[in-house]
Symmetry: C2
Subunit: 362 residues, 2 copies
């Protein structure tokens, strides 16, 4: 075992993002010698017993941590949520049928685009009119669509659903950037999917958690690679899975379980969000960019009211060892991503920098 040091960087990256330090240590060791086998995890057959155990354990942890109904199934694939955007209509929309989407940002827009390539796609709610700075509410979802799709957290724009729409049709959701950050009622969703690279693990794996009873009713003839049912039937081994990314996800979920699961994660994320948003609201030189009631606990977006101050502010936070808080080009300003593994100490460092900067420039 190597001598690991505490991370020197306050990592606010929007994803791939910070993971627990103990995960890095275990994941590093497994690359040299996996569980005393004398082999690296990277050279082990995906059909070997130790790797099958990793896959099974990762699957079980997803269901356990989210409190999923027993009959729900878990699949790990490559390709990211973007592949999910593509697979959603193929798996859930009948040829000649309709789907409904809520458009709350860049990734939701991409999901809509994939829906439109597959068939009739209604955008039943959108916050595009205000550059996606809020979550639409109170909209109607037709009963005659094959499914309704939402993006629970909008990484780029910093908004998050605090309550989910009610609908009689299967609700499918891209939960990439807030999965495992809070309890959700899994049975409200026919499908929850997301790229691993936020709260679950590194880039390279995507998780699909779904009700198998709501799958396979479209009559479409699917490629086996596009067919969620096929991947589930083959235990995510229809073809070689992204073994290491699933392994690091498993380690991250073990860590989450050890700290108290999604309930404890939510508490910590709430505390971090309150500290940062409180600071933004208290200091007049800063301003949040989203509707207050829709503020994301994962990605806090804000600006300096006087953008001419940005270079001076940038110098200060960089000096403090902060990384990754420049906003996405479509919003500008700043975005502090506070995923599960970001310690509140990192938020204290950032808010202290903000206080100091406000004092000098207020």
């Amino acid at each position: 075992m190597s001598t690991a040091v505490k991370p020197k960087v306050h990592n606010y990256s929007a994803g791939p993002c910070i993971l627990p330090q103990q995960v890095f240590e275990q994941a590093s060791q497994a690359v040299l010698d996996f569980q005393g086998t004398g082999m690296s995890i990277l050279e082990m057959s995906h059909r070997s017993k130790p790797i099958e155990e990793v896959m099974n354990k990762a699957r079980d942890l997803v269901k356990e941590l989210l409190g999923a109904p027993d009959h729900y199934e878990v699949v790990f694939l490559g390709g990211g949520a973007s592949m999910g955007f593509h697979m959603v209509p193929l798996n859930y929309q009948k040829p000649g049928g309709k789907s409904a989407y809520a458009n709350t940002g860049e990734w939701a827009t991409r999901a809509v685009k994939e829906g439109r390539l597959a068939g009739e796609t209604l955008v039943v709610a959108s916050s595009e009119d205000k550059n996606f700075n809020y979550i639409p509410k109170g909209f109607a979802i037709p009963d005659d669509v094959d499914y309704f799709h939402i993006t629970t957290n909008n990484t780029i724009f910093g908004t998050q659903y605090k309550a989910f729409p009610k609908t009689k049709v299967p609700m499918l959701c891209d939960m990439s950037s807030d999965i495992f950050s809070r309890p959700v009622n899994v049975s409200d969703f026919a499908l929850i999917y997301g790229g691993a690279q936020k709260n679950m693990g590194p880039a390279g794996a995507t998780v699909y958690l779904f009700d198998p009873e709501k799958l396979g009713h479209t009559g479409r003839k699917l490629s086996p690679m596009m067919d969620l049912k096929n991947h589930a039937a083959k235990d995510s081994m229809y073809n070689t899975p992204p073994v290491y990314a699933v392994y690091v996800s498993m380690l991250t979920l073990e860590w989450l379980k050890s700290i108290g699961g999604v309930a404890e994660a939510e508490k910590r994320n709430q505390a971090k969000a309150e500290l940062l948003y409180g600071t933004i609201d208290r200091l007049p030189i800063f301003e949040g960019t989203t509707a207050v009631e829709d503020r994301s606990a994962m990605n806090a977006t804000f600006v300096l009211k006087d953008s001419a101050l940005e270079p001076a502010f940038d110098a200060l936070w960089k000096e403090a060892g902060i990384s990754g808080i420049r906003g996405h080009r479509s919003v500008g300003g700043y975005r502090a991503s506070m995923y599960n593994a970001l310690p509140i100490d990192s938020v204290k460092v950032l808010t202290e920098v903000m206080e100091e900067f406000a004092k000098k420039n207020g």
Copy 2:
């Protein structure tokens, strides 16, 4: 840096498979601290400068090591070659057009299946009549198909093309299990693709090397996720790429370059293959399962003529620290996969075990 030990296992796994020990050491270190950044490679944004450099270097090494023409492009995606089977007809076959495939095994059969889902697909050559134990030769490829597809090496059945068919139509190939094992004339192929988990790296990344001039002529409206041209235009960052799998691939390709590239790899692979096949042929209790002229230098398949001896033989090679030589269920017997990183010393250990076993049981 941790104190790494030599691998204790002679790893004949068919893939994921052995990689160079120095790659494991570098890859392990990067998980703790990537290039002195104080961050794990697993937590770094794919759009950060160091990761962009990894992606660029990996791309450049693919082209350099294979001697690809300058205008060829490289894309890294997830999903494995199986996703490639699905993308090939979408990217190369006109609606209403035809494609041609040579079927030389399990993976070629899967590629054909994907072709058929997309349109008219001719199997112009097949070795299915003899359980895929040879490579068909001298067959005709129609001039009016949109492309011709082959699988250069058949992992399960242990056969390999020693020369490639000549054709006037774009030749596309799944080279998953022998890419980087020998020189090839890249310009003979409009597309070379393959899962990383043999000679290139760990599971989780897939490489596509292609002539962009031969892409984008089908008139199909493609999902951006299925569109090779889109992924190339976005430098494999249309969505988050499988960063770590590409990084380990980059390290493996750096190692390959350092030992002398694909020409040196071919020499070493030839020497290993001659040693093992020579032993199989010399010892009457063993028998190769494929046509001698089509024997794969990557995957040597053989049986004990008396299968009742298998348990005793299995005990002996396991005792010698050999792993992963049981054959695939569709062939039975044994399969020794000898990818680039397998040292000839591991083959010596295996052949000594075979000699010893033959002496006792001959």
